[in-house]
Symmetry: C2
Subunit: 411 residues, 2 copies
Amino acid sequence: MSESLAAKAAALDAADELAGARGLFALDDAVYLDGNSLGALPAHVPDRIADVVRRQWGQLRIRSWTEGDWWTAPERIGDRIAPLVGAAPGQIVVGDSTSVNVFKAVVGAVRLTADPARTDVLVDATTFPTDGYIAESAARMTGRRIVPVAPGELAGALGPATAAVLLNHVDYRSGRLHDLPSLTAAVHEAGALAVWDLCHSAGALPVGLDAHGVDLAVGCTYKYLNGGPGAPAYLYVAHRHQAAFDTPLPGWTSHRDPFAMTPGYAAADGAVRGRVGTPDILSMLALEAALDVWDGVSVDTVRAKSLALTDFFLECVAAYVPAGAVTSLTPAAHAERGSQVALSCADAPRVMDELIARGVIGDLRRPDVLRFGFTPLYVGFADAERAARVLGEVLSEVRAEMPAEVAAERP
Amino acid sequence: MSESLAAKAAALDAADELAGARGLFALDDAVYLDGNSLGALPAHVPDRIADVVRRQWGQLRIRSWTEGDWWTAPERIGDRIAPLVGAAPGQIVVGDSTSVNVFKAVVGAVRLTADPARTDVLVDATTFPTDGYIAESAARMTGRRIVPVAPGELAGALGPATAAVLLNHVDYRSGRLHDLPSLTAAVHEAGALAVWDLCHSAGALPVGLDAHGVDLAVGCTYKYLNGGPGAPAYLYVAHRHQAAFDTPLPGWTSHRDPFAMTPGYAAADGAVRGRVGTPDILSMLALEAALDVWDGVSVDTVRAKSLALTDFFLECVAAYVPAGAVTSLTPAAHAERGSQVALSCADAPRVMDELIARGVIGDLRRPDVLRFGFTPLYVGFADAERAARVLGEVLSEVRAEMPAEVAAERP
């Protein structure tokens, strides 16, 4: 069995039109399946950062603000991200953390609906926690209330009291892909606005923000966009909402004429209105450099490879892993799958430690979920086969040592 | 005259116990008087950033979050800043922009007063604009109103309706130093809370946050702290307020147990409660490296040199600049002076362009203010003499070309 899957992996890698992209990244012999947490380093980024530090900061100093390309970085880099998420230029700004952008987006959405009868902000009940925490603060500060709802039950929860809905495109834990087009349409039918969190989808699959009429969106850039640890996040405000977008964080760089330094605030037009403070240049220009790996890459091609990779990984898991040792939390249907596979198992922390010790890098979500993220730009089919094979070895050993009553609890 | 001032500069430089610090920075032959906008690059920082990028991100990847020193960077670096602003450990976290921290601080202060009868948030009428814009949003979102007040008239404006007061320690435009101890005491006497913006004082003069009972404070790190362009800002919440500090941005990294990823928010104890999203590691660790230049440096020594530098610069300006060509906006009294000198003059944009072309780097605040920032760690007395001398030359030339009626308008 192992030989045939290895051969299949080799054939799939040989036919992979993205195989060449792996060479753009600094990687080693490990199988890195944690790009859904921290994307790998694009190999050219260190030199670009060194230039930003040594020349732009160290030599040009303040002139880089006035003569260089620092000041406009948030909107310029936003326009680099735009095609990856299906947005026309002029709708995305980069800056701040995802959490801060969730705050801008949810407050902005509530204010855009501008209807006090719309008292509810619906939030994905299985959301990555920060979205829920921040949305609750946004609701509290705009006189609304939070209603947690499973995305599958959204249709029944929407109504005339709904102001805004905050959803994750892909669930961070299970890897489930939610149906952005139909859910956005349902939200609109209820007269509410849809805010999408793209952290686990941008760079892994087509998003189609403009095509599907999304109102506002946020996302991070350190997962499939490889922008670096804690790299700045982004905010999308659809063109049609920009004139009325009323930010809760009207920092000076979102002013119509920031250097006039007038005491009265006057919001800039366009995506710039989503800016807040002075842009964090080192991190921002590292991200800009990292986005070069997307030149000439089609997101559709990335998505096709992502599905082929997760299909093949699941096939290998079925072949290598002792029956019943793991349960997949990730939907089998392509339409419901992001770019990661989440497996629950007994003794998961120990299993992940062993995997990492043997060169298969995934991560753990307490208490019992192993996450394996497949970044199509640098993960290949042989990586998927090896990861499943090592997982099978580890699970066989762990189960052999497990007291009989614990092993029996697993299905 | 020129010779005697040059000789005096040489003598002052020879006696300067901070003179050696200049060698810690990447500088050239220009006189860099814009450290109050963007601090110069500490020479060791590029190698430290290269290590963060190539090894910590590129090789260790996700392990740097779990095994390295990334996760605790916000509070660890906060504790590095603490002694520079007179704070005991455990009260400062680094992250987000100054604007975002102003929002946390003002909302936090209003909620700490917890008295609906206290309807007013008083804000320095000459504040750097972002503080005013953000404070207005904070007031709006907590059901309060903004009252602009000149710091000199604060005593008369305080009263039972005052919830919080947001003040700048040093005015960004004039360089005026406000009396933090007495203003904080007056705010407390009125039963309100004092929020201080330290952007233009931290790293230039003693602040004494703890000693003077400041409630909350914010500051940037890219001026006198040399953290790099747009480097992360910080938030100080005094120990006595931490348990009740109710942040408007309860991001997941401020949770008591962030990796439990529970749907309900439970705030961490201590300064960590001021964190929001995933920390921006590249910028944050650049800042951490930059703070090494403070090892063994006393802020009192820095302050003494800062005052000597600005005194001497004003002496040279008086000697070199044609009578009446400039007016100083910076108070002569030491107790009212920060670490910059602001001069207004005719044709200021052209004058600053000429200064920069001749190697004297200051900046312009529209319409007519030339700002010269004196960073004691790397600016010397010969620099001050040269800057004033070149300013005198430029102003003589500009005035010679000026139509008589324009020249006559100047005092």
